[in-house]
Amino acid sequence: MPERIVVPFGPQHPVLPEPIHLDLVLEDELVVDVVPSIGYIHRGLEQLVQKREFTEYVYVAERICGICSFMHAVAYCQGVEQIMGLEVPDRARYLRTIWSEYSRLHSHLLWLGLFADGMGFENLFMRSWQLRESVLDVLEDTTGGRVIQGTCKVGGVRRDIGQEKLDEIHRGLDSFEQQCLDLGDVFLNDETVKYRLQRLGIVGKDEAYALGAVGPTARASGVPVDIRETGYAAYGDLGFKPVVETAGDCYARCAVRVKEVYASIDLIRRAIDGIPEGPLDVKVKGTPDGEYFSRVEQPRGEVIHYLRGDGTKHLARARIRTPTLANIPMLVKMLPGAQLADVPVVVLSIDPCISCTER
């Protein structure tokens, strides 16, 4: 009978420079149990809603996370708009979709690089981040910000993208797509990568659904849940279908993200083709009085901004349920059975965002 020992993983670890702590219960090199711990950088941003006017809180929502930034702003604005009965102009809906998908590209390429780094594949890491740079260049070019865009506001968006720039982005997508296909080919078909990822950290469809998993983590286990299917922003016009894999292992989670990169490029292309002319925002009058659970599909999965207004300029409550929090039970289930050396890869496979979790 092997002796059981507890090995602490984190809160700081080279593969995950964000403060999550895992107590790994090991029998020799085999993980048999795991106890997660968070809260090292809890910032109390939810309570800040009572000190900022509801229009100002967009800036706080954007700063919950540097990667899902734009989509936090969309979720928040969408919630306030729903409470106040505001109809966002069509052009603003399309621009929100374009920037959301660029944010997804930015996040997925960042993750693919980190994942390659976690596997010890330095060249693949650098190639992924090189491609991510071109995504950040487009975001900077169209919004002024590489990480925090600051373009989403209650009632619409602050900035437009001119037709000339849209055409330039559209043309640039062809070569960008080819580079992503080349990169994806390594992640999906390289034998070393497959050997490292397949049959590792397996969670089946029923278990993933029962655990409340979201995003690529759920879709890699065959659960076809993607909030973009509800048709928010312009997704209802673009005919979106989620990417689903069924193996439920680390390879499947990687494959979903690779294929979502291709899907995002396609969505951006169709959004540019279909973007209508018109105003960018509507005038916001009055104050929010009511409540709404606003749902948006972030790169890591479904995020929820529960907002409650009491008729004053401050909201009474903002409660933000981020995808990483929903995926922690999955992580606890997928680690037992893995070798200690595989723990970084398994942890990274849910794409943990502690910044979002510690809002």
Partner: protein
């Protein structure tokens, strides 16, 4: 409106909570979140569920000293939300499958959102 999602909210009594959650589980709903709101001296706890993008919300109203039964026996992953509810609001949740006993979210101030915390809440608006 930017979205056209119907959201149903049903009020539940404390003694009916587990039965209602069990019914949703049997009907194939997934647990989306559990969130708490301070409503001035008491708490409102929202249990949110989803099935095929149909959003249902069970709403429980409790006083500050009332113990709330855990639903982690029905939805295993509920432990993250229930530990969070306890650690931020100080609400006693009984029978959680993985009970961190106040160490899941290590906030600088114990139970920062509690309505009964001594010394008042310095973060609130005057």
């Amino acid at each position: 409106m930017t979205v056209n999602e119907e959201q149903t909210t049903i009020s539940v009594a404390l003694e009916d909570l587990l039965r209602e959650v069990e019914a949703l589980h049997a009907d194939g709903y997934r647990l989306v979140q559990i969130g708490c709101t301070d409503i001035g001296g008491a708490y409102e706890i929202n249990y949110s569920f989803d099935k095929d993008y149909r959003f249902k919300n069970l709403r429980l109203m409790v006083g500050p000293d009332i113990e709330v039964p855990s639903i982690s026996g029905i939805y295993w992953g509920a432990f993250v939300y229930e530990n969070e509810t306890h650690d931020l609001f100080g609400i006693p949740v009984t029978g959680i499958n993985i009970d961190f006993k106040g160490t899941f979210i290590k906030s600088g101030e114990k139970f920062p959102f509690s309505v009964t915390r001594s010394g008042g809440d310095r973060c609130r608006n005057a």
